[in-house]
Amino acid sequence: MKRDRTVMPVQEADVRSTNFLEVALGYSLDDAVLEASRCLDCKIPRCVAACPVNIDIPLFIRELKGKDVESAYFTINKANILPAICGRVCPQEKQCEGACIVGIKAKPVSIGALERFVGDYALENKLSSDEIIIENNKKVAIVGSGPAGLACAVSLRRLGYTVDIFEALHEFGGVLKYGIPEFRLPKNVVDEEINKARKLGVNFHKNVIIGKSITIDQLLHEENYKAIFLGSGAGLPSALGLAGENLTGIYYANEFLTRVNLMKANSFPNTPTPVRIGSNVAVIGGGNVAMDAARTAKRLGAKNVFILYRRDMDSLPARLEEVHHAIEEGITFNLLYNPVEFKGRDYKVNRVKCEIMELGEMDDSGRRRPMPTGKYKTFNITSSIISIGQSPNPILKKATPELVVDNRGRIVVDHHQTSIDGVFAGGDVVSGAATVILAMGAGKEAAVAMNEYIESLEID
């Protein structure tokens, strides 16, 4: 019995490109059970090994097939506290689904969609495991409330620690809140997942910038935290370094997305933070951030939104689903163009000049290297959104000179331990911009290391 992959219903492209509602609508129970029946329940499941947090995928799918969604949830929850989020945003084709055995001959099992279904079911039905926490009355501090910080906080809380999360912004969730748009990850899903951590007893403090409001030294020596986890992410936008980059109308994706996602500029003037992009928007880059920026620009009403990317279509680092959705929504892909200069008038950008590239030899990343041709093309634009990457936010390092970082600003760790005793780190701040699930995995592992460290203090 070979069955085709159960397709998840989505909003029609021409409708959704004018609203901010979620694009993918999710499975019904029947859809989920049907899709679950495609899993072969492998003895040596390749999918599990390819999931960064090793969810017991065959088990949760088997439970789902038996319509026992509750058990499926608790199976996932043991390894992953944010299934409704990961089910939506994991690059599944490179992880679990990429390894699924069914994928050799047909489309792999839709593990992400199933996980999302279970996660949403748990949120809707307020499933919680009534965990009993035995307080050990020892304080730990978590810096940043992104996926790394959240995962670390929950793991430590389950071990009995008093856990304080400090977040610089006025909302919790890190990139899940300010970066990934509503139409891909509804903010109420993020809030509800965060509420689960709150229910476990994790304390959340907004508007606290570690290094500024309180220093790491003060946390350790004045506030008596036994250990600290740094999950401050990779927030600093990378610059192209081109002439004209600071003209008005040129955004870094972080600013553009923050205006819309965190500050709700799409509701302006009902909300007071504006955003302005005009009709012709060049989005520079080919990753998830670029796709999110382009699709957001389209939804704000820009007529012509195009990607400028210096490699070819096959090299786009974005999740496959996002690329497909972007194409359906009318985003144009101008490939093999490398921006070299912004031009403008009265400090307002109106053109971007690009060098035309061609493909050369394979490079280290296994993709064909873009080579300059000496030929140029200029595009007329009203604005541009630069989305070519992020590196760690510099505040912590500036405030804490003894914290060792590498030449790209990433915190150097050994088994999650930084150069400062009692201070651990994980997520994007260590790896550079990566993924939600890798950040969560790092947070979880760091919690284990922190627990060992704190216990070793007591032996002395």
Binding site: H170, P237, P394
Partner: protein
């Protein structure tokens, strides 16, 4: 929530608030700023920390557009939704003997903690302060506590000379030499001060106020070009030595949303 302890009306356009925010006060230094959001959907607006004790911080703001007018509707006893800080680099207090402060309008507020710090460290300090009318010259009494001489300039001549701070400076420079000037006010004023001071070979520090969102180096909205290099005012500044700052670009960047700001102000605050 962050409680407003005290509110004082300094003139028709400018008000002062003391706000309870112990985590902002704890490590605050001269030159630092904070960001507030007045209400639940509020804009994030940056304001300088003018004074602080262990628990409270004082801000002085000009009712300019929508968000500062909304702030002005709050009274002592009310609360603000968010207050975060201290942000930015503390002012780099240089080892100099004679300092001239040049304040334009509400720029007198951010200048105050810095200039006071110079006086505290033993420098001889003078001030040129300018504003629309006599009422717009704020903090005069507080400045007089540590300034040797205070010169005034007003648009209507109601106090000091009728004209700009640069005109006063031009006169003062005929008689006195300064090791350093600190100019804080509207961008156009700072730009003109810098041009004048270059002529008189006086080094100048300025405090930049580009549009900001997060204030933590994450968005890049606050970027300024200095000697061809991009700086983020929120983490590299907001204070900078004035040499090489592209003021014209910064003015264009600051005005980018004027049309939208005007619209929301008319729409939502007209009674």
């Amino acid at each position: 929530m962050y409680k407003i302890i005290r509110k004082e009306i300094l003139n028709v356009d400018v008000e002062l608030m003391e706000i309870e925010a112990p985590l902002v006060a704890r490590n605050a230094l001269p030159g630092n700023f904070l960001i507030i959001r007045v209400d639940e959907d509020g804009e994030r607006i940056p304001l300088t920390i003018v004074e602080h004790d262990l628990k409270n911080v004082t801000i002085i703001y000009q009712k300019l557009g929508y968000s500062t007018k909304l702030l002005s509707q709050k009274e002592a006893g009310d609360s603000l939704f968010d207050v975060v800080g201290p942000l930015g680099q503390a002012s780099h207090i240089r080892d100099v003997k004679r300092v001239l402060g040049i304040a334009g309008g509400v720029g007198a507020a951010p200048l105050y903690p810095q200039l006071k710090e110079y006086a505290k460290r033993g420098a001889k300090v003078d001030l040129i302060i300018g504003g629309r009318t006599k009422e717009h010259l704020i903090l005069l009494d507080k400045y007089k506590e540590f300034c040797d001489t205070v010169y005034c300039a007003t648009d209507d001549g109601s106090s000091g000379i009728k004209g700009f701070v640069t005109q006063v400076a031009e006169i003062v420079y005929q008689n006195y030499k300064y090791d350093l000037a600190i100019a804080i006010g509207p961008l156009i004023m700072m730009k003109n001060c810098v041009i004048l001071n270059e002529k008189y070979d006086i080094e100048t520090d300025v405090s930049l106020n580009p549009i900001m969102i997060d204030g933590t180096g994450m968005c890049g909205n606050c970027r300024v070009t200095i000697n061809g290099e991009t700086k983020f005012a929120c983490v590299d500044g907001p204070d900078f030595p004035a040499k090489g700052i592209d003021f014209d670009e910064l003015m264009a960047r600051q005005k980018y949303y004027n049309h939208e700001e005007d619209h929301i102000c008319k729409m939502k605050l007209s009674k």
